[in-house]
């Protein structure tokens, strides 16, 4: 998993719960990296799972909620780092429908070894979008957080329904309706 996902995650933990919580979840986890992350490095996904689990244990917040909040936070990182990419889109639905064909292509240019989830568009209409998320990392709520913020970015609101196609969350249907 790319380092930026770890560094921004720890940044969020520090902002919300303080440096002590960062120190605690790192110490409680058995990390090959010893918690030393740089945005341009690559680390084991299992380290992220441990950090999430320990944050959940310490705060009592569900892991899916933690991921959603992190997704919302991560959107602001994208906004400030890759503003031009977002500026190419005029509506949130258009942007979300382009994840696979455009945004991930751009990501792959900067991080050729990034393993990305897939977002297959099932149907795109004027005010609704159906997509299938697939990833062995099952971080669909991270995606949900990003989507929520996408709508906010365009000053729009949406109902987003998330249906697990596979119980382990590696395949999920997103039904997005702009309101």
């Amino acid at each position: 998993m790319k380092g930026i996902v770890f560094t921004e995650f720890l940044e969020l933990v520090e902002q919300k719960f303080g440096l002590e919580m960062v120190d605690r979840i790192i110490t409680q986890s058995d990390l090959g990296s010893k918690g030393i992350y740089t945005a341009i490095g690559t680390y084991e996904f299992s380290e992220m799972l441990q950090l999430l689990q320990n944050l959940h244990d310490n705060t009592g917040i569900e892991i899916d909620d933690l991921l959603r909040i992190y997704g919302e936070f991560f959107f602001s990182v994208l906004e400030s780092n890759y503003g031009q990419l977002i500026a190419k889109y005029s509506s949130p639905l258009e942007m979300l429908a382009s994840i696979e064909k455009h945004i991930h292509v751009e990501v792959q240019k900067i991080y050729p070894d990034a393993s990305l989830p897939t977002f297959d568009v099932v149907s795109l209409k004027d005010n609704s979008l159906e997509m299938i998320y697939k990833s062995d990392k099952a971080m669909h709520h991270f995606g949900l957080g990003l989507m929520t913020k996408t709508f906010e970015h365009f000053d729009k609101k949406a109902n987003i329904i998330l249906e697990k196609i596979k119980p382990d969350g590696t395949e999920v249907r997103f039904l997005i309706e702009e309101i």
Binding site: T7, L19, E20, V22, D23, I26, K34, G35, I36, Y37, T38, A39, I40, G41
Partner: protein, 439 residues
């Protein structure tokens, strides 16, 4: 700030420091990698550019192949580089240019011919998929040429989906070539494919044209000789024929009383045969004398010409000849045109079997051609003979007066004036001959 808070900060600071160092290391490696990639790219661009420049304007495929090889051998730092061309007829490949020990003064010593499908080169020629081989000793397809080479790059040259050749490089060391070089060779192959193919086509066309010109010249010479020969022979044959004819008539006159009836019939038959032979010889003479060089262009009034012909030839009472509107003047050879129409009209008259015979001569014109037609209500010609009646000596009758050359003469004259001749006919109903003369 208490002790534990200080410890947390210390740990955080330590992590940040180490993270920074890690990042610096990653960036250093990345920039080295980028540098390496960009120099590879530069080298690759350089060789592609050089090749494109050096083959610019070259039309000989040996020259083109040779330029490609020098550049590739230089780029790959190898002594062994060969271009093969695929021969679809023999389903094999031949080395057309090579660099290295195989060559002396650009000439390949003992050029290898490999059937498509054999060896690494042959299998690339079949599959069209480029190959990079690091250790040929582990590849059963490898064919040793002069020395054993462990590394090999083989790239097809493809034009519009057809594999026309192969670029093949080898080196004695294992793991000598890399992916970047393979990509460069694939790009080179794309750059040169079209031009190499055009050069090969040009060569083939030149070869074919050369042969064609030579054959044409030979044919023209033979034709000329043949016509001259026919002319002389016909001329020489005529005088003994006349002597025989004269001698026969003297014998007949001198022995009028002595000859019995059957002998007189035999004499008549001899006369007819002589006449037939005379006709044959005259027609051959005419046929052989028709040539472009013989044309004396004059203005011909076709209507007048036709009237002259009708008056001159024998037309039985029961046959009427109708002449339609004709073009005012045509620039052509008078004798040839007379021959042309006379043969067709005589033919039409000759084959009428009806009580009321009708021959019609009509004319129409378009932008490029004068078109004439001569129709009769005679016996008609079976369609199976249509294609051969214009050939020399193809008479469809057993009539002794028919030489079988008449229509050949017509055909030859029409061809001489850039026209075409054809016919429509129904057995028992009649025949129409059409011919055109170029304006």
């Amino acid at each position: 700030m208490n002790h534990s808070e200080i410890d947390i900060l210390k740990r955080a600071l330590k992590r940040e420091k180490l993270a920074r160092k890690n990042a610096e290391k990653i960036l250093e490696e990345k920039s080295a990698e980028l540098y390496h990639l960009s120099s590879r790219l530069k080298e690759s661009n350089f060789v592609i550019n050089n090749i494109a420049k050096s083959i610019l304007g070259k039309t000989n495929y040996y020259d083109i192949a040779w330029e490609i090889l020098i550049n590739i051998a230089n780029y790959l730092d190898t002594e062994d580089c060969v271009i093969y061309l695929i021969n679809e007829e023999t389903n094999s490949m031949e080395q057309i240019a090579a660099y290295g020990s195989k060559v002396k003064d650009k000439e390949i010593l003992n050029p290898l011919v490999i059937p498509i499908g054999e060896g690494i080169v042959g299998s690339v020629a079949k599959s069209g998929i480029p190959e990079l081989i690091h250790d040929t000793s582990k590849d059963s397809r490898y064919i040793k040429d002069i020395e054993y080479n462990y590394s090999e790059i083989t790239v097809p040259i493809v034009v519009e989906g057809h594999i026309i050749g192969i670029i093949d490089s080898e080196h004695p060391e294992k793991y000598f070539f890399n992916e970047g070089q393979l990509v460069t060779l694939i790009n080179i192959s794309r750059v040169i494919a079209m031009q190499l193919n055009n050069a090969i086509s040009l060569e083939k066309r030149k070869e074919a044209e050369g042969k064609y010109i030579k054959i044409n010249k030979e044919l023209a010479k033979k034709n000329e000789a043949l016509e001259e020969y026919a002319h002389i022979v016909s001329h020489d044959l005529k005088s003994p024929l006349r002597s025989i004819s004269a001698l026969l008539s003297w014998i007949k006159e001198d022995n009028e009383e002595l000859l019995n009836d059957s002998s007189k019939i035999y004499f008549d038959n001899i006369d007819k045969s002589l006449e037939h032979m005379e006709n044959l010889i005259s027609d051959v003479l005419i046929y052989s004398s028709i040539s472009f060089e013989q044309i004396k262009f004059t203005s011909i009034d076709i209507k007048k010409l036709l009237n002259e012909i009708v008056e001159y030839i024998f037309v039985p009472e029961h046959i009427t000849i109708q002449i339609g509107a004709m073009p005012p003047q045509i620039k052509a050879d008078y004798t040839q045109f007379k021959q042309l129409f006379q043969n067709l009209i005589t033919n039409a008259v000759k084959f009428i079997d009806k009580d009321e015979g009708k021959v019609k001569i009509l004319y129409e014109s378009d932008e490029l051609f004068y078109k004439f037609s001569i129709s009769d209500n005679g016996i008609g010609i079976d369609e199976k003979y249509h294609h051969k009646i214009f050939n020399v000596f193809q008479s469809l009758t057993k009539d002794t007066k028919s030489s079988g050359i008449g229509l050949s003469i017509v055909n030859k004259i029409v061809n001489l004036y850039g026209g075409k001749i054809w016919l429509e006919s129904k057995l028992g109903e009649g025949t129409t001959f059409f011919f055109t003369i170029k304006k």
